[in-house]
């Protein structure tokens, strides 16, 4: 099974032609439970990588570890060659690795546009003393406002610009969180279940946004349960089960992998993974 992304054949923990993120021996134990135990993982640059696996496979925990929101029991990892083990989460984000959350964290009592502006990096007015002197930061503020309005338009949230984020629907909050992450102009954006709870009518536009990111040169790593979407937009799929990586490869090949079928479906192995997803999505295409 050769391809353009991995060096040699795709296999769990295989080397990539151009990795942006490389993790080694990352493990996390909660008491006696080993939630994550990844021997080696490389995320290809400029591609869309899906991280899939059954509930409790350790996908979100791996996200938390890689972005500094949780501390691993063992392990090291590098992002663009920089060691990230033990680096605080806000510094990880400043390096260009920005994440979203499974349970949306829209800042409810801030307006949509303020949420967006908060995503921008290096605003001088965020420093305590500079904040008192508007001329020091108003120029930057105007620039990021233009950038934010442009993103809001792309995510069809421009009509909600001055509403409190609390007034948005669940799906709109997902969109806002993603747009806000993009304000940081990340090199790698990590989306934790971007489609969960999103109206099928919106999923198609979300998928398009994720593809747009790739065409702008951003690397995307996302966790998702919906196999149809995974197959539809990802270049590469990493499958986790019980904390380990059990399979890797291009989506079409991974779906046929016996380890994946075992991990996901157990006794229902005769069902094609691609048809597990809801039919409405196909209708929406």
């Amino acid at each position: 099974m050769s391809n353009q992304i991995s060096l040699g054949d795709a296999s769990p923990g295989c080397q990539k032609v151009d990795p942006i993120l490389v993790a080694d021996n990352v493990s996390r134990q909660f008491g006696g439970l080993t939630a994550v135990n990844v021997a080696h993982l490389e995320i290809p640059r400029g591609k869309i990588t899906a991280l899939i696996g059954p509930n409790g496979a350790g996908k979100t925990t791996l996200f938390n570890l890689l972005t500094g929101f949780d501390k691993p029991t063992t392990g090291t990892w590098t992002f663009e060659g920089k060691n990230l083990a033990g680096v605080a989460s806000y510094k990880v984000a400043r390096l260009g690795m920005v994440r979203t959350f499974q349970l949306t964290k829209a800042l409810s009592m801030l307006t949509v546009i303020e949420n967006m502006r908060l995503g921008a990096q290096k605003q001088p007015g965020e420093r305590f003393l500079a904040a008192m002197f508007r001329p020091l930061w108003s120029g930057f503020e105007n620039r990021i406002t233009v950038q934010a309005e442009d993103l809001l338009k792309r995510f069809k949230l421009d009509a909600k610009r001055d509403d409190f984020a609390a007034a948005l629907s669940g799906g709109q909050r997902k969109l806002l969180e993603m747009a806000r992450a993009l304000m940081a102009e990340p090199k790698l954006v990590m989306l934790d279940e971007p489609m969960a709870g999103v109206n099928p009518a919106l999923t198609q536009s979300l998928l398009d946004h994720i593809k747009d990111l790739k065409s702008n040169g951003t690397t995307v790593l996302f966790v998702e349960h919906d196999m149809h979407m995974v197959r539809h937009i990802s270049d590469w799929v990493v499958v986790m089960a019980e904390g380990k990586i059990v399979a890797e490869g291009p989506p079409a090949d991974v779906m046929k992998d016996q380890a994946v079928i075992d991990a996901y479906l157990g006794a229902h192995a005769d069902i094609d993974l691609g048809t597990v997803s809801i039919k409405t999505v196909k209708d929406g295409e």
Binding site: A88, A93, G125, M132
Partner: protein, 326 residues
């Protein structure tokens, strides 16, 4: 009973230095709780640091007025760092526990007998305001009109106190409309989200704790200028009055703490005057004048409960922006 006296006393509270001091302390608390979401239950300690830092450095160390202010602010920053370094990385509840405990520790320390030489022990300190009153630009005489009529000394402390309140309000207004304020409000909503956007949440919480604490310290200085320093004043009761004042006006508003303080003190004076009068003329027979002090606080407590039920965002608050949702 003399109704004009009762109402006159109540209305005079509108501009009293104590009202200004409570407003200033509540502005500081609004920075902590209303904007940043920090549960500070030790604002009385910041006020005590202002009071003792100012009085002790003048009486025991012969500092100038400005030197004493600088010492108080410096001590207040150190205190904020001591509180914040261990707790601001933890959940907000921990700050609440640590602040309430350290405020009590501070009060007990300054009132111990072994500290009498420095802090006056439980008797407190007095006669430290001479430099302040020497700076008074108003010639001796009576100023303003009924019911605000004051002597030149009373006028001077009112002018300084309210000037400070106005400056603090403007500072908070400017800061909360800046990108710094946006980060801080984001932290109130969800600090992990703010962290994921590359902001050093810990540093922002510390800056907010220091800013609000220094405002509390300045309030402590204004509070003692017209009176003596009494350790008994800095108990948890003071902290909760400041909380009442802040919630009354609206926690995430600039004017809220100021108006909250005015309403609080006018109501306190009014209930006191009316109850005193009613007892004196024999309308109320089941209370003695000694019991009125506690009773008016019971009434204030009832008022606060009604506020929480019927107007949880305070007088000025935007219901969408902040309620009691801790």
């Amino acid at each position: 009973m003399d109704w004009s006296l009762v109402f006159g006393n109540a209305v005079a509270e509108l501009i009293s230095p104590t009202t200004a001091a409570y407003a200033l302390a509540a502005i500081g608390l609004a920075v902590h709780f209303g904007y940043t979401g920090l549960l500070n239950f030790g604002q009385a300690a910041f006020m005590a640091i202002g009071a003792y830092g100012f009085a002790v450095s003048i009486l025991n160390f012969g500092f100038s007025f400005w030197g004493a202010i600088a010492v108080s602010i410096g001590l207040s920053i150190v205190f904020a760092l001591i509180l914040g370094i261990p707790t601001l990385r933890l959940r907000s509840d921990y700050l609440a526990i640590v602040t309430i405990a350290s405020a009590e520790i501070l009060r007990y320390v300054v009132s111990t007998t072994s500290m009498v030489g420095l802090t006056g022990g439980s008797n407190g300190l007095s006669a430290f305001g001479f430099q302040f009153y020497d700076m008074n630009p108003f010639p001796a005489g009576n100023y303003l009109f009924w019911p605000f009529d004051v002597t030149e000394k009373e006028l001077w402390v009112r002018v300084v106190g309210w000037a400070l309140v106005i400056l603090a309000s403007l500072l908070v207004l400017v800061m909360m409309r800046s990108p710094w304020g946006r980060v801080v409000k984001g932290i109130r909503e969800d600090e992990d989200a703010v962290r994921s956007l590359g902001k050093n949440v810990y540093a922002y919480k510390m800056q907010s704790l220091i800013l609000g604490g220094v405002l509390g310290t300045l309030a402590g200085i204004i509070f003692i200028l017209p009176r003596a320093v009494q350790p008994a004043n800095y108990g948890t009761g003071l902290t909760f009055f400041i909380w009442t004042v802040m919630l009354l006006g609206g926690a995430a508003t600039v004017l809220g703490p100021v108006v909250g303080s005015m309403v609080f003190w006018v109501l306190l004076s009014l209930t006191d005057g009316i109850l005193q009068g009613l007892v004196n003329i024999g309308v109320i027979t089941f209370l003695t004048t000694d019991q009125i002090g506690p009773v008016r606080f019971i009434l204030i407590g009832l008022g606060l409960m009604a506020l929480v039920v019927f107007r949880p965002q305070g007088i000025f608050g935007n219901k969408k922006e902040l309620q009691f949702n801790v």
